[in-house]
Symmetry: C2
Subunit: 109 residues, 2 copies
DNA sequence: GTATATTATCGTAATTAAACGATAAAGCAT
DNA sequence: ATGCTTTATCGTTTAATTACGATAATATAC
């Protein structure tokens, strides 16, 4: 049955935000970093670089991406930067996820 | 405190799978398509193209990406193709999400 | 058979992402 | 002050993404 749908606006802020959060998770290294941050209480860039098979500059780039997505905060502590999960961002992530879970019930035509 | 972590293997299948699913959601058009598929019972490429501000070939590409990620199935019905949410893929997505929700409790150093 | 409708694929262009090494900046130690 | 450590940024290269129009393929209609 033709349930006619209104046109979709790809610039809808909520839609864009959801995609941005998902995109930030769209690389194994970034998921790994988030999990590390959830486990450890120290979270300097160097600690992460030690554990990931990536160059320091690459890790720094991934951290920047996570920060831009609002999933992570970075507080300068002297010469180092302490990265942490951003509670607000994680909350948004969880909301996105549960919203999607609700909407994507299993149907098939 | 230095909770020393084992090295992370970015080729870990589960990690890669999680990232691949997230990546598939990492574009507004693809999230919109998934939501449409959840709402409508007809789900031909043309129906989606009608609603999205994108060319037919672009929509087809996004559908291909969703299919490659296992989130969508496409059954050929004569000259058209009927796209549906893939229950297995959606289940995986939900598992990923709840796993992440569990792991990413709010901490800060 | 000829035309029409539907979708996938090809070719292409522009943009973004991912990775690295090298370097700069800035704090800490001596 | 000099050197060491830590991290961000720059410059670069390679690869992937996104988008479009054009075309091919295939089923349906006439």
């Amino acid at each position: 049955m033709e349930t006619l749908n209104p046109p979709v606006h790809l610039n809808d802020p909520e839609l864009k935000r959801s995609a941005a959060i998902a995109k930030a998770l769209g690389h194994p290294a970034r998921i790994a970093i988030l999990k590390l941050l959830a486990q450890r209480d120290t979270c300097f860039c160097g600690d992460i670089t030690e554990v990931l098979p990536l160059a320091q500059s690459t890790v720094s780039q991934h951290l920047k991406a996570l920060k831009a997505a609002g999933l992570v905060t970075g507080e300068v502590e002297g010469v180092r930067t302490c990265y942490c999960l951003n509670p607000d961002g994680v909350k948004e992530l969880k909301n996105l996820l549960s919203e999607l879970s609700d909407e994507l019930f299993d149907t098939c035509c």
